[in-house]
Amino acid sequence: MSRGEERDRGEDRPGTTASGGTAETPGTAGEDGEGATGTGRGADRPGDDGRDDPPGEAETVRLDARPSGTGTAIAGLVGFVAVAAQAPGGPAVAVGGVGLVALVGGLRQGARRIVSLGVLGLLVGVLVAGAVGLPTELLLVSAAASAVAWDVADQAVSLGEQVGRRADTARAEFVHAAGSALVATVAVAAAYLVFRTVAGGPVLALALLLLGAILLASVLRG
């Protein structure tokens, strides 16, 4: 029987697992009459055990693997900026709004898949807004804010899994959000600068700019 490889060290007691005792053990005597497994000495994949128990005064504290309130708040705020920038884009804001709701809802549940779908909603909103001719400045702000929202939300989810909601993670989240915002600002500023320089020029110039960026990216990959 696998012996508690995933036990979250210290945070939980030997658990109950009737047969085949996987994670937290020593379990109840199992179906096979051999009893269940022993307490595994768990190497600890932070976050594999997302049991969700309310803390009691003397109760054992377990890992609450949902993202922290800080991360949810930052991601929600940045996502709101992304949707707000799409506002003049008509139908775009509807798609983006659904994405924002999914993003915040997914973060509250700690469901990475829903968070990803939410960000995808924001991005589709950006595409729709671009297609209906949203002003370039607003479009860039919306796109950059979507990217930052994804960055912050994904970090919040991984912090939830590895460190848990109970731990103090605010500092790491603020620093990360600041770094992400800086990258977004630089990227937007550079792109916008080039756009103004070639203002009125053909779309081809911008396509070449994009090609240049991709070449740069592939060089970095090598």
């Binding site: 490889e5 036990r7 060290r9 210290g10 945070e11 030997p14 658990g15 109950t16 009737a18 020593p26 109840t28 005597a29 179906e31 009459g33 051999e34 009893g35 497994t37 307490t39 768990g42 190497a43 600890d44 994949r45 932070p46 003397a58 054992t60 504290v61 890992l63 950006v126 595409l127 671009g130 370039t136 479009l139 860039l140 796109a143 950059a144 970090q155 991984s158 912090l159 460190v163 109970r166 731990a167 993670t169 500092r171 790491a172 990360h176 770094g179 990258v183 977004a184 990227a187 550079a190 792109a191 916008y192 080039v194 756009f195 779309v203 911008l206 396509a207 700019l209 960026a213 990216a217």
Partner: protein
């Protein structure tokens, strides 16, 4: 680091770093950003919207940023401080962990998971934290554990670090300096006495035997033999009939008892996640019984039937009691979590037989959740060491499997009773004295 690689040369996600080792894992959190950017760019070209092309540039910039960043260099110094390193059971102990960035670069996303010993429960705060540290800066966090019996050693702290982009996660483990151990030695309380089986030593004690002699409980009347003490001659009968007769009382003798605790891995069972395991209850009961038997003049020994095979030969006295207390609290054989060592029950049983004094009886503490321990108990009994089994019940009945396990255990209890062993079935929450009283009602002599 050559072993245990995943398909992409990545360490498998469930593998933990050992101190001094670093594991790098791609988080793949920016996967698809370039594809999405190109889609936006293509849409822009199709519709003739320059804005979408700029959006693509921003996206590619994020993708390039993610590719460009390297995993951070993790040089951290950790120190752990406990507000006390020797605690009583259930006492709250505050653990403070301080982390200092001893490297040259900023650690933007540093996650720490303290290696709390398995047997300790965290009851306040979290043994995990995430922070960001500039070079030379330190941060600390604290949490509270509930002390439990044993000598606990903290494991190394797991450190996970990511750069700003978070594209690669570096995992390592670091030993914390400072306090690394928490010792907790329960006091031995005097418990209720357990009726012993009729195998005694030559010393006077409290076990009432079936042989006549001096004592308090009437046994028989026999013919007077010269030399019988005057106090035991039945003077009434002598006055009535003129014949002398001698009263016999049941002799009261001391016993030699070895308390044998089943500490095999199969004995670490509990009815639910937060309940104490059968071994934990066995050890507590053995402690109570040890002192109560010593106080009634019996000679008591202590042994573990499990890895480590602890053995304390029967004895008496204050020093003996102290040795037993220390062993039950901190000896690795009675650890609150199973030891990862091979155990050969057959060999161990033979060795135990050689060690047991000829007049020793055995009190076996076992949850009786496998068949081997039943055979072992019967064998010891057959070799002339009467066995009393004190069995903490670890079974539950929430699922069909659990109910089956409970029935099987009850069957094992019956089997042992049928062949004449005494079994105390001790349900969780019940006082041991009450369980002994219930079981004792059916015992004779």
């Amino acid at each position: 680091m050559s072993e245990a690689r995943g398909p992409d040369g990545e360490p498998p996600p469930d593998r933990r770093a050992t101190p001094g080792e670093t594991l790098d894992r791609e988080t793949n959190r920016w996967r698809g950003v370039n594809a999405l950017s190109l889609a936006a760019g293509a849409l822009g070209v199709l519709l003739g919207q320059p804005g979408l092309l700029l959006v693509a540039v921003v996206g590619v910039a994020f993708g390039a940023f993610a590719l460009a960043t390297r995993p951070p260099d993790v040089h951290v110094e950790l120190s752990r401080e406990l507000d006390r390193t020797v605690a009583d059971p259930d006492e709250r102990v505050r653990v403070t962990l301080t982390v200092r960035n001893a490297g040259e670069s900023l650690l933007a996303d540093l996650r720490l998971i303290d290696g709390v010993p398995d047997a300790l429960d965290v009851v306040g705060g979290s043994p995990r934290t995430a922070t960001a540290l500039r070079p030379g800066k330190a941060a600390s966090f604290s949490y509270t554990v509930r002390a439990a019996r044993g000598d606990h050693e903290f494991d190394p702290v797991t450190v996970l670090a990511r750069g700003f982009s978070g594209a690669v996660e570096r995992e390592t483990a670091v030993h914390a300096r400072g306090d690394g151990r928490l010792a907790c030695t329960p006091r031995l309380d005097v418990g209720d006495p357990l009726p012993l089986r009729a195998l005694t030593t030559g010393y006077t004690g409290r076990v009432v035997t079936d042989t006549g002699g001096p004592g308090t409980e009437f046994h028989a009347v026999r013919e007077y033999r010269p030399g019988d003490p005057l106090s035991r001659i039945d003077w009434r009968r002598a006055a009535r009939t003129g014949e002398y007769a001698t009263l016999e009382f049941r002799r009261e003798r001391a016993a030699t008892v070895v308390l044998l605790v089943d500490t095999r891995e199969t004995a670490y069972l509990a009815p639910d996640a937060d309940a104490p395991s059968a071994v934990e209850r066995s050890v507590a009961a053995a402690g109570e019984l040890f002192t109560s038997l010593l106080s009634t003049g019996d000679r008591v020994g202590l042994a573990a039937f499990g890895p480590g095979a602890f053995w304390l030969a029967p004895g008496a006295g204050v020093g003996h009691r102290a040795r037993a207390r220390a062993a039950l609290a901190t000896d690795a054989s009675f650890a609150p979590t199973p030891r990862e060592e091979p155990f050969f029950p057959g060999l161990e049983l033979r060795r135990l037989r050689r060690r047991l004094p000829a007049d020793a009886q055995v009190v076996l503490f076992s949850p009786l959740c496998d068949d081997y321990v039943v055979r072992a108990a019967r064998r010891l009994d057959a070799y002339g060491h009467p066995v009393t089994v004190v069995s903490p019940d670890p079974t539950a009945d929430a699922t069909a499997g659990e109910t089956l396990a409970r029935l099987e255990r009850q069957l094992r209890c019956s089997q042992l009773r049928e062949v004449g062993l005494r079994v105390v079935d001790w349900t969780p929450g019940e006082h041991l004295g009450a369980a002994v009283e219930t079981a004792g009602a059916r015992w004779s002599g």
